[in-house]
């Protein structure tokens, strides 16, 4: 079975994000970029399926600017077999990403698609769901445990109320959560070898998708700074403040 994973290039999770002075967006100049951590979990899961003999080939896909190829190289170094880069220099909204992935899936015909539950830059948490909707495939979101058997995926989902177990008929879309696995470090020899693995280049036009955004960002601003707290001298005073000032009880 072929497994397709989508990986997004985002600001590294260790970087302190700064808003541009003109409020037009987040400053990306000279900022370290990495693979979205949830997508790393997706790649790791695909590799584990291959190591278990369930998956036969792993195809990694990334969409966006030229440098997305570096993110694909990371996936290849971790263990993906080949990669597809959909080149586009402008902004890509989740619906456009889902449409582009749908077009790639039409030619690749994977038995399973694994993506991160959300990207840590815009936190949209939409692409996987939209893709499942467009394809009419079953979806398992926020997956924290996974088992594949007899053409079915048994997935445990992390939902607000606890854990939910679902059974999906393949092919299906999975969006993966933090606790599914701990991604490996690409080994240094594999990083060198990954430079030689193929990356196929595509464009939205070739795939028949109009990438024009439907939304316009008006302004990006930092959240207000947290104010200093106050000390209260009794429980009664605390309750009064929570009732009257904070309005939480």
């Amino acid at each position: 079975m072929k497994v397709l994973v989508a990986v997004k290039r985002v600001i590294d999770y260790n970087v302190k994000v700064r808003v541009k002075a003109d409020g037009s967006g987040v400053d990306l100049a000279n900022v370290k970029m990495s693979m979205n951590p949830f997508d790393e979990i997706a790649v790791e899961q695909a590799i584990r399926l291959k190591e278990a003999g369930v998956a036969t080939e792993i195809v990694a896909v990334s969409l966006g600017i030229e440098q997305c190829q570096e993110t694909l190289r990371t996936a290849l170094a971790m263990g993906a077999d080949r990669a597809i880069h959909v080149h586009h220099d402008g902004e890509l909204e989740p619906l456009v990403v889902a449409k582009l992935l749908k077009a790639i899936i039409a030619t690749e015909q994977p038995g399973l698609v694994i993506v991160g539950k959300q990207a840590i830059d815009d936190d949209c948490n939409q692409t996987g769901q939209m893709l499942a909707g467009l394809l009419g495939w079953p979806q398992g979101t926020f997956v924290s445990r996974l088992k594949l058997e007899n053409g079915k995926a048994l997935a445990t989902r992390e939902v607000d109320g606890g854990l939910e177990n679902v059974e999906l008929t393949l092919p299906a879309i999975l969006t993966v959560d933090l606790r599914l696995n701990e991604p490996r470090y690409a080994s240094l020899p594999n990083i060198m070898k990954a430079r030689k693995k193929p990356i196929e280049k595509r464009t939205p036009a070739e795939l028949g998708v109009d990438p024009t955004p439907r939304l316009k960002t008006l302004k990006v601003s930092e959240p207000p700074k947290r104010l200093a707290g106050v000390k209260v001298d009794s429980v009664a005073a605390l309750v009064t403040k929570l009732k009257q000032e904070a309005g939480v009880i």
Partner: protein
Amino acid sequence: MIRDQKALDQLLDTLARFVGERLIPLEAQVAHDEAVPDAIVDEMRGLGLFGLSIPEAYGGLELTMEEECLAVLVLGRTSAAFRGVFGTNVGIGSQGLLVDGTEEQKRRYLPKLATGEIIGSFALTEPDAGSDAGSLKTTAKRDGNGYVINGTKRFITNAPRADLFTLFARTNPCEPGAKGVSAFLVAAPTPGLRLGPIDRKMGQAGTVTSDVILEDCRVPADALLGGKEGLGFKTAMKVLDRGRLHIAAACTGTAERLIADALSYATTRQQFGKPIAEHQLVQAMLADCRTEAFAARCMVLETARAKDEGKDVATDASCCKYFASEMVGRVADRALQIHGGNGYMAAYAVERFYRDVRLYRIYEGTSQIQQLVIARNMIRGIAP
């Protein structure tokens, strides 16, 4: 020389993550237990760290000197104990074999050293032969189809872990100097080779060293490195030459870590109503640290590039080792001073690093030996 900048960036990025996420959080535990957990050693094998310098033909990464130094700058940002696990395979435990071994010897050992399946160790120093390495007393006597080795080796890094020693012994008793010395590849365990107790040290807890005692230890004739007697001292010097840049890079990486720690402390610790980093005398210490570490980084990378271009860097490599090891001592001292009373407490990493870095001025050629090498090469350079 950097062969593929993007691949190297990715490699250094992976190393930095491994150091930051896996090794730094374990520093205190390793110092306390005086051991690196087996699981971490396995991860190091998985990452390919044991094969950094070994040629691709033997399963390693074959990093150029500049690439190796950049990698070691990253690895220097954590305790030396971690680097010690694979450091001998990258440096002194494999390089003798690599520069002077026969093809058969290389094929036999290098692939296993590259994967970390076996650990290599370098046994030169003796109780009475430290800086004066040519005066060693361990003997290897020809006996039938082999040699019989007798003597004691001291402070041997990774001896308790080693599967293969590059061991130096005198094959010609009539030649008391360096010319009578040969190098042997001695597999362990082997009858007649035993280890002393693990040394108790001032710092670098978790790096293991011990005596190696040889009592009528019999090795086959093909254990002679390169198949020729009398070349051992030359081999040892070639190995140490390359190691100088590696150590200088490690010193510089550690200095950069200490500066990061000191800066973080100085910008958060408040005294006299403001962060201590706003006091000018603290700023002076920070600036001196940064300047010296930057100088060392430039020296190391410049010399590494020259070495990759095939130039003779013997003098400059000694300059690097001499300057970087002394520099990291000064940086550790200032970083501790910036930490004030807290810096003297074991709860802060700087206290441990202060003791760890002291060794750099001593091993693989003391500062004084480096001074002699540098000055003698200078004088030889103008000789008619």
